[in-house]
């Protein structure tokens, strides 16, 4: 981008800077592209450091697909103020902060990424922050960790450009207990006893959710009968299941989130099921879970704070996504980067165009637009909490479903189809069904 092309939309940029929150949609981007002075054909590079191989590659591949689909759509609408968008991917190999930092730096310095957009990586949740801050660019991730919030709050002037476009994991623990309480109040579920079994993996995300459940269980009348940590990846669940069968709980919460491990749990659990609700964190939302577990997946509950909704927008996205990538593709994963890419494009267009790496002033304008944007995508509404630069959570942080990313609960009722959304309203499309293993 040269100086001449950057000066053209100055007056509109000044106007929008003073405007308040903006509701974003693809139509808004198309409108902006029509009215804007074209900025030339230099492509806008979006870097995506994602786990394309390794233990969470199933998610990483969906992140790539979602981003690719969004880029195609944006380019179909004229790009960002006339500039085509190009996505570049670097594999982080499902490794830690060091791999993510190297991948991000490569995308900035080698590929000239104006922004980094990804889903999650198996890092501590803070790997992108310094890289983005040092290069003066935007980074958008869905690591779903509270440590992001704390870091941004600790130095907002340095971490102005890093956004977590979903809520942190802290809402999961209480959210699950509230969900079960709601089922009981509506008479859809009666707990056979007050026992709660928590099975967690070793990751901070899983542990924070497990600890939150552990801490709040008593307030909801539960007694934690088992708190088990498993080494991952895990395919042999025998020892854990033996403990569950020896002292059957009313609710089993598996907060370890790898889809393939959860599927193996269900395959082995169904050999001799206990009279327990089974809740699985996130992984069960992926097609890979149903593929591996087959019929054994039916009845499983899962939740996510960033999953494809089953309303008009979500369904249209899921259909287009599956038509593009095949029936086994998972809109829950792809929807994340898809929405983030669209939101970034709108914010960048509103700010007068994206800045190149190290063009901090222009990228700060884009960040400012993102901070004030309300973007409705297939996974819900992204509205950013200004202090933490994470998305608001509905219903935990806002009671207005149009102003927060919904913490959705789904149940797999047919192994051949995606799980159906059973809570919260107004996004629920089906009622909860007592799993087959609890009916007899």
């Amino acid at each position: 981008m040269n100086d001449t092309t950057r000066t053209a939309p100055t007056s509109r940029r000044d106007f929008l800077r003073l405007a308040g929150a903006t509701t974003g949609s693809p139509a808004l981007l198309a409108g902006l592209n029509r009215t804007a002075a074209a900025q030339g054909g230099e492509p806008v590079i979006i870097g995506c450091p994602a786990p394309l191989t390794g233990i969470v590659a199933a998610d990483g591949i969906e992140f790539r697909r979602g981003l690719e689909m969004a880029v195609e759509e944006i380019n179909g609408m004229g790009g960002i103020l006339g500039r085509p968008v190009e996505a570049v991917f670097v594999d982080t190999e499902s490794k830690g902060d060091d791999a993510v930092i190297q991948a991000a730096q490569r995308l900035i310095d080698r590929d000239g990424a104006s922004a980094l957009i990804t889903g999650y990586n198996l890092e501590t949740g803070t790997a992108l922050h310094d890289v983005a801050a040092d290069a003066g660019i935007i980074a958008m991730h869905a690591n779903t960790v509270v440590v992001h919030d704390e870091l941004v709050k600790s130095d907002p002037d340095r971490f102005w450009g890093t956004f977590q476009y979903d809520p942190p994991e802290t809402f999961y623990g209480v959210g699950l207990l509230d969900f079960v309480k709601g089922l009981e109040e509506r008479g859809e579920f009666t707990r056979p006893n007050n026992k709660l079994a928590i099975v967690t993996g070793p990751g901070v995300y899983s542990i924070n959710i497990a600890n939150a459940l552990n801490e709040k269980a008593a307030e909801y009348g539960f007694e934690v009968s088992l708190f088990e940590t498993v080494n991952v990846p895990i395919s042999e669940w025998g020892p854990t299941l033996a403990k569950l069968r020896a002292d059957p709980p009313a609710l089993i919460a598996v907060t370890h989130f790898y889809a393939q491990d959860q599927a193996q749990f269900m395959n082995q659990f169904m050999n001799e099921p206990t009279n327990s609700l089974v809740y699985m964190q996130y992984g069960a939302s992926l097609a890979a879970f149903r593929e591996i577990a087959g019929q054994n997946s039916e009845g499983v509950l899962y939740a996510t704070v960033i999953g494809a909704l089953q309303d008009e927008i979500g369904k249209a996205f899921a259909e287009a996504y599956k038509a593009r990538f095949g029936e086994n593709a998972s809109p829950n994963g792809g929807g994340q980067t898809y929405m983030a890419m669209h939101a970034y494009a709108v914010a960048a267009a509103l700010a007068g165009g994206p800045g190149a790496p190290y063009e901090e002033d222009q990228n700060r304008l884009v960040a400012d637009r993102l901070r004030h944007l309300i973007y409705r995508g297939p996974v819900g509404t992204m509205r950013i909490v200004p202090e933490t630069q994470s998305a608001y959570c509905y219903p935990s942080q806002t009671k207005d479903p149009s102003l927060g990313m919904p913490h959705i609960f789904s149940q797999i009722q047919d192994a051949a189809a995606d799980g159906v959304l059973v809570a919260p309203p107004p996004y629920n499309v089906e009622s909860f069904r007592l799993p087959s293993w609890m009916q007899g």
Binding site: D98, I108, T124, T126, P202, I207, N208, T229, N231, V232
Partner: protein, 343 residues
């Protein structure tokens, strides 16, 4: 003879050191400087592993554990104990050496493949103990932090402190810190390999019975090799942690072990400079193989297999052999050419 070899290799080390010292004068790109920093670190690990495996004949698979020990030492020293990173770095390297001595005392009663099995088992046991720990030792920024960092490890502890001083050029500061440790490591390795210690190591490696009969205590010298190699490897791990502000179990998982092992084998086991060249070659191979996804592991495995079969002494051995062929007088019997493996 010994002093001549030592001086020759010290001169090579000096040329390498000066050459790399000049790199930031010509390269400003943060990614590229970052890659050279990573090269320094992996080269240190590979060269120290080569000292232990190639020169002292100890087939240890715990080298990455010592590397991780250095990194964890810095992370825990700065984040949990509040130490300055400049104090944490030598302490972490020292901790790696102590750990190596303990492991060495247990393992060096065995020989050959049994040492490999036991050292691998110990490293894997430590890794599993770390990743399965879920007990919150401290709450850092509202986040559960296990004593050894759990499966995600430690992050955001103190780095070398150049950001406020050098601002956008902070990586140049990191570069010269790691370069200094790299040069220190090179000099120390050259002095060990081409000094009396190196001779003793190779005597044990080549014929333990003969070496013992000449008064060289196998266990004692192999323990010295274990400890000195771990000290320098721990130092590499410490500066790795200082550069990335990260220490986690991925530092000593199996794929990382294979990556560094490939550097040693491709470069030339038992040589002086081979693992340094191997580190560079493997980093370039991996850079180009980034687009290959899972096939990247096949490229790594294949390069090990090809080198073991066709060039068992690695690049260093190949170059040595080529030099011998070139300098051989015409008509000289092929069998009389000897390749010095520690070139």
């Amino acid at each position: 003879m010994l002093a001549g070899e030592l001086n020759k290799h010290l001169a090579i080390a000096l040329v390498i050191a000066v050459g790399f010292a000049a790199v930031p004068l010509f390269v400003g790109e943060r990614y590229l400087l970052g890659e050279v920093i990573v090269f320094f670190i992996w080269a240190m690990v590979a060269m120290n592993w080569n000292l232990l495996m190639g020169h002292a004949g100890v087939f240890s698979l715990a080298q990455l554990l010592f590397f991780a020990c250095g990194a964890y030492g810095v992370a825990m020293g700065t984040q949990l104990a509040g130490l300055s990173i400049w104090l944490a770095i030598p302490l972490a390297a020292f901790a790696a050496m102590v750990l190596a001595l303990l492991i060495g005392l247990a393992c060096l009663r065995l020989t050959g493949a049994y040492v490999a099995l036991l050292t691998f088992a110990i490293a894997e046991m430590v890794r599993i103990l770390i990743v399965t720990d879920t007990h919150c030792f401290a709450l850092i920024q509202n986040n559960c932090q296990q004593l050894f960092g759990g499966s995600t490890g430690f992050s955001r502890f103190s780095d070398f402190g150049f950001r406020p001083i050098l601002r956008g050029d902070w990586i140049v500061g990191h570069y010269y810190v790691v370069w200094a440790v790299f040069v220190l490591s090179l000099v120390a390795l050259v002095v060990i390999i081409h000094g009396r210690l190196g001779l003793a190591f190779r005597a044990i490696r080549d014929n333990v019975g003969y070496a013992s009969s000449r008064g060289i205590d196998r266990q004692r010298y192999q323990l010295i090799a274990f400890a000195s190699s771990a000290l320098l490897t721990g130092l590499a791990g410490a500066v790795y942690a200082g550069h990335f502000r990260f220490a986690g179990p991925s530092l000593f998982e199996f794929s990382t072990l294979m990556f560094v092992l490939a550097m040693v084998i491709v470069g030339g086991l038992g040589s002086t400079w081979g693992p340094l060249v191997g580190a560079g070659v493997m980093m370039i191979v991996v850079e180009f193989a980034k687009e290959l996804g899972d096939a990247r592991s096949i490229v790594l495995g294949l390069s090990i297999v090809l080198f073991v079969v066709f060039l068992p002494k690695g690049i260093a051995g190949g170059v040595g052999g080529l030099r011998a062929i070139i300098s051989r007088p015409a008509g000289q019997n092929r069998s009389t050419t000897a390749t010095d493996t520690h070139q």
